[in-house]
């Protein structure tokens, strides 16, 4: 059940089906028991008592000479009947109650929720035992006793789901369209409420089978001579030492059904488990072997070995002031059968003290290509190419570092600010604890008080008033702008030469965004720090960047100095992007010039230029050959072979379609 590429042959859906197979077998056996069973499960034959398994009695006979296999099959029938009845009752009662409570809200919801809470907090087995204790055993009482507590979880799940949907824009939209409560509940609330309930039911099957068997075992479930599985076991108990065939098969049957049910439930609830981010920090020996690369599209560059890395280094380094140099960086993820590149052959460099902005739309690979050199991607990512950082006095190859080596780079030479500040901070730790840890990691800490003094200094540096108080606050107690500053303080703890900021202002209000951009500019000036800023918004980076790289479908399509990129872009995609940005001074109602079609997705989806299908100046050759970045002027590169500057963009006047 591990990562997708381990068992390539079996798709996840099929594996779920395989897991469910024992359950299906259980259902079929239960339904067909009278047909399948070789003998009458209640026919005594004292002459043939306690016979070991033979051709005649495949699983032997019990103390009354009854065929054990037939009793086992009929046992499945009883278990199935009880389980089906209980599930039918509790699903219906639970989903209806929960949906009503969730939809109505208010006092009705409060009362019903309270009842559900109480029912859930009662021990189910005890309730069943007590009910049977006063009503006596039997299949009917068994169903009542188990249903009495089994409905509550369904009600809780359905209520939570419906209550969550109640305030959703979807229902608002339906109300605005004039839909009445009947239509909303029946067509739009019941189906989504039922889905998670069915997932829970897959686990519940096991719990019910186990509960019924346990009750029978205690002599409180199905009375003899009916062959319930728990009943079979208790009847076999006196012969435990001599007749093993009485002890094993019923136990194995119960365990198999319950195990399959638990496994299926876990699979449906959590899905296929992905490898965790922590894989990066485990010792290398514990890591899985590097997954094989896609046979279809072998990457153009190879993973650098130690020698190739050093040779590349010696060739390019030489104190030219380039802090970070990325060459032919590709990142791929496992995909169906093979790997799929999301970033291809990306090259960029960041001189000391400069700010590089990487701009692109959703899925263009901008964040991936910037975080890849520092090992901050999903663990299934395979990074190849070269990225060298002038860390301190020597140049280090970043691709392929071990986790301990990474810890010498991350935090000390490179600081990172993530987009979602609430998610990037541990909600259970104070701001001060975060910064303290960063300070200690870089070796600037000491005694607790010393560390905290450094922390407060850092918080002051990023413009947070009252650092002493802020250090004691938890992340959720700060506004988005303040949290982003706190992340900045953490990133600055190691006095890094490079700051990587992934969409640092995207979630913020414009006024707060402006202040934060101010702060970043100030920090660069004061600390001489280089930065890589990732953004989807060209307008934002014009306030900050020295250089801009524009990405499309996993590749850099144009890169150059800010002024050139904004005033004189040559790649048609860059121009299209600029056209889509609202401009001040335009008369209200002016249409935007737009690019037809949808964004390209991956760098390897098309043979030629990924932008060619949308490009107003494309020629047939564009769709055949992958363009490479060509230098136009110092620092200005473009991947459009038709750029020469004379080609004029023809803007389509026809109403564009966003269709297939």
């Amino acid at each position: 059940m591990n990562a997708g590429h381990r068992r390539r042959g079996i798709p996840a859906r099929l594996r779920s089906t395989l897991v469910a197979l024992p359950l299906l077998g259980f259902a079929i056996v239960g339904l067909l028991a009278p047909v399948l069973a070789p003998a009458d499960p209640t026919a005594n034959d004292l002459a043939a008592s306690l016979l070991p398994p033979s051709a005649e009695h495949l699983l032997g006979t019990d103390q009354l000479g009854r065929d054990q296999l037939s009793r086992l099959l009929h046992g499945a029938r009883i278990s199935l009947a009880v389980t089906a009845a209980v599930l039918a009752i509790s699903l219906t009662v639970g989903v209806v109650t929960g949906t009503i409570a969730g939809y109505l809200g208010g006092p009705v919801d409060r009362v019903i929720s309270r009842v559900i809470d109480m029912a859930v907090s009662l021990p189910g087995m005890l309730v069943a035992l007590a009910v049977i204790g006063v009503r006596g055993p039997g299949i009917e009482n068994l169903v009542i006793a188990v249903s009495l507590w089994a409905w509550a979880p369904y009600a809780r799940i359905a209520r939570a789901r419906v209550a969550g949907l109640r305030g959703s824009p979807h229902l608002d939209a339906l109300r605005l369209l004039g839909a009445g409560p009947g239509r909303i509940i029946g067509r739009h609330l019941l189906p989504p409420a039922l889905a998670p309930c069915l997932v829970y039911a897959s686990t519940d099957v096991g719990a019910i089978v186990l509960g019924v068997a346990t009750l029978s075992f205690l002599g409180l479930g199905i009375p003899p001579p009916d062959p319930e599985w728990g009943q079979l076991l208790i009847e076999g108990r006196p012969h435990l030492a001599s007749a093993w065939w009485l002890a094993y098969p019923p136990g194995i049957a119960i365990t198999a059904v319950v195990f399959a049910s638990n496994l299926l439930g876990e699979r449906l609830a959590t899905g296929d488990e992905r490898p965790s981010i922590l894989r990066w920090v485990l010792p290398a020996g514990l890591r899985a072997p590097a997954p094989r690369r896609s046979p279809a599209r072998p990457p153009t560059t190879v993973r650098p070995t130690a020698t190739s890395a050093t040779s590349a280094t010696s060739a390019t380094s030489g104190g030219d002031g380039t802090l970070l140099r990325v060459r032919d960086l590709s990142v791929s993820y496992p995909h169906r059968d093979g790997r799929r590149r999301v970033v291809a052959d990306v090259c960029y460099e960041v001189p000391r003290g400069h700010i590089l902005a990487v701009v692109g739309e959703t899925g263009s690979g901008k964040t991936t290509s910037v975080l890849a050199p520092f090992g901050l991607l999903d663990p299934t990512a395979l990074v190849i190419g070269s990225a060298t950082l002038e860390a301190g006095t020597h140049r280090r190859q970043l691709v392929g570092l071990t986790p301990p080596q990474r810890r010498q780079i991350n935090g000390r030479h490179v600081g990172v600010v993530f987009q979602d500040s609430l998610a990037a901070l541990n909600p259970l730790r104070t701001i001060g604890a975060h910064v303290d840890e960063a300070v200690r990691n870089t070796g600037r800490g000491g005694r607790r008080a010393t560390t905290r003094r450094v922390t407060e200094e850092l918080l002051r540096l990023v413009g947070l008033p009252d650092p002493v108080g802020i250090a004691r606050e938890f992340p959720h107690q700060l506004s988005g702008g303040m949290r982003q500053r706190a992340q900045l303080a953490i990133a600055l703890a190691g006095e890094p030469e490079l700051l990587v900021a992934d969409e640092p202002t995207s979630a913020l209000d414009v006024t707060v965004q402006a202040q934060l951009l101010d702060l970043l500019a100030r920090l660069r000036d004061e600390l001489g720090m280089a930065m890589i800023v990732v953004s989807h918004d060209l307008a934002v980076v014009t306030r900050l960047a020295d250089t801009v790289a524009v990405m499309y479908a996993g590749r850099i399509v144009e890169a150059g100095p800010l002024t050139t990129m904004v005033e004189n872009p040559v790649h048609p995609y860059t121009r299209g992007l600029l056209d889509a940005v609202p401009r001040p001074g335009t008369a209200p109602g002016t249409r935007f010039r737009t690019m037809p079609g949808r964004s390209g997705t991956g760098p390897d989806d098309a043979d030629g230029c990924a932008f060619a299908p949308r490009c107003p100046i494309a020629v047939p050759e564009c769709a055949q050959e992958q363009p490479t970045l060509l230098a136009l002027a110092p620092g200005h590169r473009s991947a459009c072979p038709r750029q020469s500057g004379n080609a004029t963009l023809v803007v389509g006047a026809a109403p564009e379609r966003d269709g297939a």
Partner: protein, 268 residues
Amino acid sequence: MLEIAHVTAGYSRRRDQDHANVVEDVTMRIEPGEIVGLVGESGCGKTTLARVVTGLHRPSAGVVRFTGVDVHSLRGRALRAHRRHVQMVFQDPYLTLSPRQTVRQALVEPLRIHRIGDSRSRSARVDELLDLVGLDRRVGTRLPRQLSGGQQQRVAIARALALRPRLLVCDEPVTALDVSVQAKILNLLCDLRDRLGLACLFISHDLAVVRQLANRIAVMRDGRIVEQGPTLEITTDPCHPYTRELLAATPTIDTPVRHTAGSAARGA
């Protein structure tokens, strides 16, 4: 056509909230064929105002009149009839569409609810709607999750238009979209206004977007409209310091001069 008079609205006693998310004494008008932009930062009450205008939320004071009728006094049949005139487009199109309904089913739903036409005329109307919002008719058989964000928003707009409303309230309709997709949706809204004479209350946090789209702009802060007027007047000669701050903070690409500390926040 739409008249919002001294509307105050809030939520019943939410703990630990000052007056965020609450609308106070708002007065506005929207005329036919006009796009009015409502700009403000998160939590200033613009979404609450949208819900009040569409009738989803009841104001604690003031009235909302649509063609002279108090929206919140309507009940039953009259309310259903009124609902057809005012529709809403939400920020996240995926959340407003049922994940189980195909595009066609989603577009037929409002016609079914109001029992408009038979199956043939409904189908024709769906085709018409798909054309209107620039979607390929083949998209009709897809589920929302199979569409891009821009396509989803087009479907949401088409569904809102199914009942031929006269006013469309758009609550941050392009915030979740990429810039190039955003441009297309904004063009679409302009086209719809020109072609259908549709009025639109366009709510956004992004002054840059609003000023290229709207005929008039209202700036909202802490539940109040601090300034409103024709777009050019607001953007070139703002009176209120908050409007000036917003204008200065809104990033544009007309000033590709290297940024130095201190010039962004205190632009005005």
